[in-house]
Symmetry: C2
Subunit: 195 residues, 2 copies
């Protein structure tokens, strides 16, 4: 079996396995053994490629945020007007795979981890900033700059809040309802500025 060029294959498998195991487990206190098993390799190999558990977890955050970013870029390209681009950003935040319970559980675990791991925090901050700046950039075409910043803050908070509340499964809300609430927030506040 040992062929050359396995490294990228194994790294991807391990990063995907980590996300799945963390999501199922609902916590970062998962063992390297579980992750390796899920990826179909030995724990020793996971250490071989990532050096440490912490490094594997950090890579997992990085890779998955990168994928999320790619989704946003694609969605933004497809949208024409600023208003459509705002909707695109919202839609991606709530898209199916992001809204799956295991995915929410995993992100929640990473958010908590950001309190301990400076590197994890850095990646999440980059995501938060990008979300904010995507919103601001397009809002500026629709309202004064000062209002754009404020409305973007509110919209970002609402997106994250709907997300975390979905994780609690107290009053499960559909993807469409979440999108509608956020859209409504934007529309109402933009209208308030005109009227």
């Amino acid at each position: 079996m040992p062929k050359v060029g396995m490294e990228p294959v194994r790294r991807k498998a391990l990063v995907d396995a980590a996300m799945r195991v963390i999501g199922d487990h609902g916590s970062l206190t998962v063992t390297m053994s579980e992750i390796a098993k899920q990826a179909g390799v030995s724990p020793a190999l996971a250490h071989h490629y990532f050096g440490s558990k912490e490094q594997l977890l950090i890579e997992t955050v990085r890779v998955h945020l990168q994928r999320l970013r790619d989704s946003v870029v694609t969605a933004l390209r497809a949208a024409k007007t600023p208003r459509e681009k705002l909707s695109a950003v919202i839609r991606v935040s709530f898209q199916a795979d992001q809204f799956a319970p295991e995915t929410i559980a995993a992100w929640l675990a990473f958010y908590a981890e950001a309190q301990r791991s400076e590197e994890t925090r850095r990646f999440l901050v980059i995501y938060a900033r990008r979300l904010h700046s995507n919103l601001v950039a397009n809002l500026k075409a629709l309202c004064p700059a000062g209002d754009a910043g404020r409305i973007a803050e509110g919209a970002a908070a609402m997106i994250d809040g709907l997300y975390i509340r979905q994780g609690l499964r107290s009053a499960p809300i559909s993807t469409e309802a979440s999108i509608a609430l956020t859209e409504d927030y934007l529309t109402t506040h933009l209208n308030a500025l005109r009227g």
Copy 2:
């Protein structure tokens, strides 16, 4: 030294110590030793009174949510009109001790834990429902019932979202600004219904 009636004293000390240690550590992966040390007793005593680490953590959530509830009740009593009561609920959510970094870190850890521990989840769901129903009850006096539910969802999401984003410390926002954003959300949406 052993005097009778130590139990409630020790329980409170341990629950407070747990919250502090978890907040400082930014995670639930804290040891019974650390908690016990912070409380000034031996690890064995913590086990004696709580049976297990999990039970101590659950008690910690319960007690702290109970305190939060008491704050809300007091604030609601002090407020007269429905609109003032809405403001009171918002104010408590962002009050100083709740907004301290260690407190946010602790709650984030518990939110993540809710994915694993059914009992922890139950307590957080109760809090979420109470927040929602406090908002709905007072909104109903100011707008149609259907709109009240929707606006309450949005306001609750915004509160939780501002909270979690504060935990990231990416663009630290002041207590006042957080309150202002949430108040603005309510005002704007209530006005939109009238206009």
